[in-house]
């Protein structure tokens, strides 16, 4: 069994940034990513990001991912394993990994879990028909592989992901019948929402799916209006003839490994579901397990990168790795995270974080 300083699980923005900063402190890092390539959700994002210069605002998601990957490549202290899935983490501190078809075990001194999140589904009749996709799947097909998911799509959810992916569908040459949203107002950034409105795509707030139609594949979707108590209003049905339905109804953290590690968890709807308790160093109630990014609470790539940095620095510091700039670096990252979370759209996240923040360092 191989001993390593730090194993980082997940090669998205959180994990990449955690690996870079832990290695800069002098820690040896093994970075595990279950897919063929690094980058996580970022590699399929073709739009320009918001935020400040430090978090790469104005750059497109896939360019940010490449910048991070270059930083990883420059670090001798980081070993990268792709096609490597972390399977389990056991009470004796053993981490099991499947890489290609081989099974391996490690005993990391610290573990940083940055597994991201998975898409939520929605309950309605026939929700399993081929042609009904999560928004991430649509992005993956179009933006990574250049294949259209359908000819005409109905988008569910007018949060950021819904409006952004609706625009990406238009860019790919797919017709978007409408965007529907159960809430009374659009949740996504208005810049993105305005872009699809200018292209003539209606955004129907206060609407939900009654049912999907089709025998072997999706052929249509019946949509109806909701009253202020979110119950369906009879007689308001509209049929959309579409061969694609895209669900952008939120993400839930991929926390299996944290449950298995015995980390204390809490259900926090503002953060997407069950998330781990953590202190300001992003250390969970298991002293060797740190978290960063969407797995710690669904947020944004910019926050994921800063959390990754904090977790990477803190885990390396806990192993007695030191640099002269550590304290200043750490403080700056902390301020950066607070600044990111100061906007009105972050109020929900901040409210959620209060429910899982441990006062004391473990």
């Amino acid at each position: 069994m191989k001993e390593v300083d730090i194993v980082v699980i997940g090669g998205g923005p959180a994990g990449l940034s955690a690996a870079v900063h832990a290695a800069k402190m002098g820690a040896g890092v093994l970075l595990l990513e279950r897919s063929q390539a690094l980058g996580g959700q970022l590699v399929k994002q073709t739009h320009k990001f918001f935020g400040s210069r430090q978090e790469f605002a104005g750059e497109r998601g896939f360019d940010i991912a490449h910048t991070l990957m270059e930083q990883i490549a420059q670090q001798e202290k980081i070993e990268v394993w792709t096609n490597a899935t972390a399977l389990g983490y056991y009470p004796d501190g053993v981490l099991t990994v499947k890489r290609n078809e081989n099974f391996r075990t490690f005993r990391p001194r610290k573990l940083i879990v940055a597994t991201g999140a998975s898409e939520k589904a929605l309950a309605f009749p026939n929700n399993d028909l081929p042609g009904i996709y999560g928004a991430g799947a649509v992005q993956t097909l179009m933006n990574l592989y250049g294949v259209m998911p359908a000819k005409r799509v109905l988008m569910v959810g007018a949060g950021n992901i819904g409006v952004i992916v609706a625009y990406q569908l238009l860019q790919a040459g797919v017709e978007v019948a409408a965007v529907i949203e159960a809430a009374p107002r659009i949740g996504g950034y208005w810049v993105h929402a305005s872009k699809i409105r200018r292209c003539g795509v209606p955004i129907l707030t206060g609407h939900t799916i009654r049912q999907a139609h089709g025998t072997t594949q999706l052929t249509g979707v019946t949509v109806c209006r909701l009253d202020e108590k979110w119950t369906m209003i009879p007689g308001t049905d509209t049929l959309f003839e579409v061969d694609g339905l895209c669900l952008a109804v939120g993400l839930s953290p991929l926390t299996e490994l944290l449950w298995q590690a015995g980390c204390k968890m809490n259900f926090v709807p503002e953060l997407g579901g069950y998330v781990p308790w953590r202190n300001e160093y992003l250390q969970t109630t298991h002293k060797n397990v740190y978290v960063a990014g969407d797995v710690a609470g669904v947020e944004e790539a910019s926050a994921a990168m800063v959390e990754g940095k904090l977790a990477g620095l803190a885990a390396a510091f806990a192993l007695n790795h030191q640099t002269a700039d550590f304290a200043a670096d750490y403080r700056a990252a902390k301020q950066q995270l607070n600044a990111l979370r100061s906007g009105p759209l972050s109020a929900k996240v901040c409210h959620g974080l209060c429910k899982v923040m441990l006062e004391e360092a473990m």
């Binding site: 897919s35 063929q36 399993d128 028909l129 009904i132 996709y133 799947a137 097909l141 294949v147 594949q217």
Partner: protein
Amino acid sequence: MRIENHPILAFADAATVEFTFNGQALSGREGEPIAAALHDAGVRVLRHSPRYHRPRGLFCAIGNCSSCLMTVNGVPNIRVCVEPLRAGMTVETQDGKGRLA
């Protein structure tokens, strides 16, 4: 269908390879997920569920949900959303839990 003109993205050209889907000859780009090649060919029904035999297709495209299990080269339960396409593969829709040959 492939995206022809994209305002932002350019898709790298990979070699075209042949494979079969339920015996039918199809082609795709080497190394792309099998599901991408099938979608390009208009194939979206990938398996039938074990109990009610309902058709299932792609849902997450990142190997999370197991909606896309197919039999590839005789091996059942392959997640075709993450399995790279190689020349000469035999890809078959899977009924139920699949059977080891």
